[in-house]
């Protein structure tokens, strides 16, 4: 059915997306280092260069001309940065950060060559070029002061030479390490060596020594720059690798090595060196992971479902033999095997679910960039603190979460965290803190967005709600402080009357709440004036399997996601009253509107005389009781969507196989609520996840 070219295209987009995300993460690290006025790690700049370089390569292959053009311009800029031809600074960082946005937009285009984009791309490339090359101040070549030996110097690449100079300028001591490596594992060994030295030292280059080594091994001379004292370095390497020898600084300059500013003939060019490295890196990543279309996992899950049906059929066949003494022993054995089979089956199901899980860090890293940008635009200082970035959730939920969380983050910066002056006046640290915390709690994942900003004025919220007619003044009087804070989730209420470019563009907290509800989650708010605000989002780990209450209406089975259910109480028809034609009952002194599902679905409530139940459900700040016939029990169910042909039927989120091909329709509580309360008629109904 699917065009293989589409697949290839999808592969490209997925890979490009990953590269852009990696680029974005690395840029943030670079920015952090810069803000702390530290020298950026050279390997970080290399990573960034590599991402851009690879992106340029694959963009070219797939006809993403604009992406290629931008990547090419950036590559030049980054090469200058690597070689110390230009310095890191805010303009440069801004241009780099801008590229992330541009890449993402260009990758989302239907037409990768779209001519109308050309002008924007050209302007950007011009901006990149204008950062230009600012040659660093020459202060006498420090290389000349060391007895490195012209044999070594003559084969250094331009990049290695630059790193060598930089290390010397930073006051690092140079060492020569002679070590013997096994020829078959030389790449791994050098990689291991890099890992060991990474924090204390930098490997400038390595080359084979002329002596030493045999058919299976080779002696390398490794040129190292290090901050740690010689004795410590020796303790690290001597014995295990080889000998360490310091390269002394020469006070007098006896011989001047050949001209070092040009690349010596015969040495590898910078580009070809990189091609090799990227080639290696990508091969390695392919070996460890594969990209899988999530639909394939759904197919696997279906097979597991089929297997369990087979299992129960075998069970029934075996039960038919029961009672025959001839088979007693075999039956016991079959029973044991059956149970083992079931265990493995549930294990398989868990493992497949596990594959769908991705760390939340995937969306959190996007926010880091947003925070930086938003804070800069609004001249606020914001520090983002992330905990639990490796908390895992269903890929589909993580994707759906990006927008609501983004809104919360923007809100926190825009309305929450105060300007630097205000914070100083209040004796708060100039830099505001925005915390994103994620952790598992039972079958759920909790995500908190917490800021140490101004907090919300509960009374002001109430006033605004009343003035906008969302609440009567009397109702407002009865609200608790928490009740007033919860008003923020009402449609049409925004805490800040001015529309800013960060938030308040009409997408309010009510939309955030609706989106979270759709995913079967809940959102709550806590806020103290002057101290800060914390929004807590609780979501199921996966939507592939949800816990549901199984009920019957008119002798038909239905499933109601448990996340919406507060309690179930016996239904007493004599207690029903009507208010303006709507049926209500009184529960613990409060009025609860009820909705009888049998007439709503056009089913005959076959068991009028028998005991029926009211399922009390809660969505946001609304409550509604659904009248049903029987409670069957709770079950973990897999929701499957109804096909497109039935997508216009309101009130059902999908169907679930309860075993033996018995299906239960899954009630779409948010849709039923909006149908009953009349609000939000235009909200699309919940899509099933599987």
């Amino acid at each position: 059915m699917s065009d293989p070219r589409d697949n290839v295209q999808q592969e490209f987009l997925a890979e490009a997306q990953e590269l852009v995300e990696a680029l974005s993460r690395d840029l943030l690290l670079l920015d952090e280092a810069h803000q702390r006025a530290e020298r950026p790690d050279s390997s970080l700049i290399n990573e960034i260069f590599r991402s851009v370089h690879t992106l340029k390569g694959i963009a070219g292959m797939f006809g993403y001309k604009h992406v290629g053009t931008i990547a090419h311009a950036l590559e030049d800029l980054l090469d200058d940065l690597r070689l110390g031809r230009t310095d890191i600074g805010d303009p440069l960082l801004d241009v780099l950060f801008d590229s992330v946005e541009r890449f993402q937009r260009l990758l989302a285009l239907d037409d990768p060559q779209a001519p109308e984009e050309a002008a924007g791309v050209d302007a950007y490339v011009a901006a990149v070029r204008s950062i230009g090359t600012q040659p660093p101040v020459e202060e006498g070549d420090p290389l000349n002061q060391y007895a490195i030996g012209s044999a070594v110097l003559s084969v250094l690449t331009e990049y290695e030479e630059h790193r060598l100079r930089a290390c010397i300028r930073e006051g690092m001591q140079l060492y020569r390490l002679r070590a013997t490596f096994d020829l078959t594992a030389i790449d791994d060994s050098i990689e291991a060596l890099r890992d060991i030295v990474h924090d204390d030292a930098e490997i400038i280059t390595y080359l084979p020594s002329l002596e030493g080594g045999n058919d299976e091994s080779i002696e390398l001379i490794v040129l190292l720059a290090s901050r740690v004292p010689e004795t410590e370095l020796k303790a690290h390497f001597e014995g295990q690798y080889g000998t360490v020898e310091a390269i002394e600084e020469q006070k007098h300059l006896p011989t001047v090595p050949p001209n070092l500013t040009s690349i010596p003939p015969g040495s590898q060019s910078l580009m070809s060196e990189l091609e090799d490295e990227t080639g290696q890196a990508s091969l390695r990543s392919v070996a460890n992971s594969v990209r899988v279309d999530i639909r394939k996992l759904d197919d696997l899950m279906n097979v597991v479902g089929e297997l369990s049906l087979v299992r129960s059929a075998v069970g029934r066949a075996v039960a038919g033999l029961d009672g025959d003494p001839k088979y007693r022993q075999s039956l016991q054995e079959l029973d044991r095997l059956g149970r083992g089979f079931e265990r493995q089956l549930s294990e398989l199901r868990t493992r497949i679910l596990d594959v769908r899980m991705v760390p939340l860090g995937q969306v959190f890293s996007k926010f880091a960039r947003i925070v930086r940008q938003a804070a800069r635009e609004h001249d606020k200082q914001v520090r983002l603190v992330v905990t639990g970035a490796n908390t895992e959730m269903d890929k589909l939920i993580v994707e759906e979460l990006a927008d609501p969380l983004m809104h919360l983050v923007r809100n926190a910066i825009d309305h929450g965290i105060e300007s630097v002056e205000t914070r100083m006046r209040l004796a708060k640290p100039a830099e505001g803190t925005l915390a994103l915390n994620a952790y598992h709690k039972g079958r759920n994942v909790v995500i908190e967005v917490e800021d140490d900003g101004g907090g919300m004025n509960a009374h002001k919220l109430r006033e605004k709600a009343v003035s906008r007619g969302l609440l009567t003044a009397e109702d407002g009087q009865d609200l608790t402080r928490q009740g007033m804070l919860d008003l923020v989730f009402l449609p049409g209420l925004s805490t800040n009357s001015e529309v800013t470019d960060l938030s308040g563009r009409g997408v309010g907290m009510d939309v955030v709440k609706t989106n979270i509800l759709r995913m079967g989650g809940v959102v709550s708010i806590a806020s103290e004036q002057g101290i800060g605000t914390k929004i807590t989002v609780t979501l199921p780990i996966t939507l592939a399997i949800i816990r549901a209450l199984i009920i019957t209406v008119g002798a038909r089975l239905f499933a109601l996601p448990i996340s919406a259910v507060r309690e179930a109480i016996p239904f007493a028809p004599q207690d029903v009253r009507t208010i303006q034609g709507r049926k209500v009952i009184t529960m613990r002194g409060e009025t609860l509107p009820i909705c009888d599902l049998a007439p709503l679905f056009g089913l005959r409530g076959a068991r009028q005389q028998a005991s029926r139940f009211v399922i009390v459900c809660e969505m946001g700040n609304q409550e509604l009781g659904f009248v049903v016939d029987e409670l069957v029990g709770q079950e973990d169910v897999i929701i499957k969507s109804l096909g497109p042909t039935l997508s216009s039927v309101r009130g059902f989120a999908g169907a679930s196989d309860l075993g033996d091909k018995k299906l239960a329709l899954v009630l779409d509580a948010p849709a039923l609520f909006s149908e009953y309360f009349g609000g939000g008629e235009d909200l699309p109904s919940v899509e099933a996840r599987v």
Binding site: N302, E306, L642, T645, K661
Partner: protein, 165 residues
């Protein structure tokens, strides 16, 4: 399969030398319908049916087939025909309508016929006002001599999807 306003035509089986078109003929209500074999994925014994409240009348409900939820439709109702003598659900044929597999409820499967192009009378060439789901009709010589030729109403699977949404 083509969908939309333009009526589809049937394409011969690419594997056949003589340009014949294989069609699955099924009996539903009092008429015989034909589906291009290329669109028929499977013929099933009917699994338990779950009604979908508030759906249009031609939707009988949903069934589970290997973990997938399949919508089951009643062809005579879709074609606005009165069925006097309704049979219990005999078979379900799974038809690929483009984006989706749908189940069509039938009383029984009659046969798979190899239609010659000249056996087909396209709806566009007929004066009768036929439903948008009908490509045309075909005459199939009956296997038993006691009854005359059989009229098979050829259904366009692609049009089904557009019409059902």
């Amino acid at each position: 399969m083509t969908a939309g306003a333009q009526r589809a035509t049937l394409v011969p089986d690419p594997g056949s030398d003589d340009g014949t078109i294989p069609v699955v003929a099924v009996l539903a209500g009092s008429e015989t319908y034909g589906f291009p074999l290329s669109a028929v994925r499977e013929i099933l014994m009917p699994p338990p049916l779950t009604e979908v409240p508030r759906s249009a009348e031609h939707f009988l409900g949903v069934i589970a087939v290997r973990g997938q939820i399949i919508t089951l439709i009643d062809l005579p109702t879709l074609l606005k025909l009165e069925v006097l003598d309704r049979q219990p659900l005999g078979r379900v044929i799974l038809v690929d309508v483009g984006d989706e597999l749908i189940g069509v409820a039938v009383d029984r499967v009659v046969q798979v016929s190899q239609l010659q192009p000249n056996q087909i009378e396209y709806a566009s060439a007929m004066s009768a006002d036929l439903s948008e789901y009908v490509i045309g009709v075909a005459r199939i010589p009956s296997e038993s001599s006691s009854v005359g030729d059989q009229m098979v109403i050829l259904i366009d699977p692609g049009a089904l999807l557009g019409g059902l949404k």
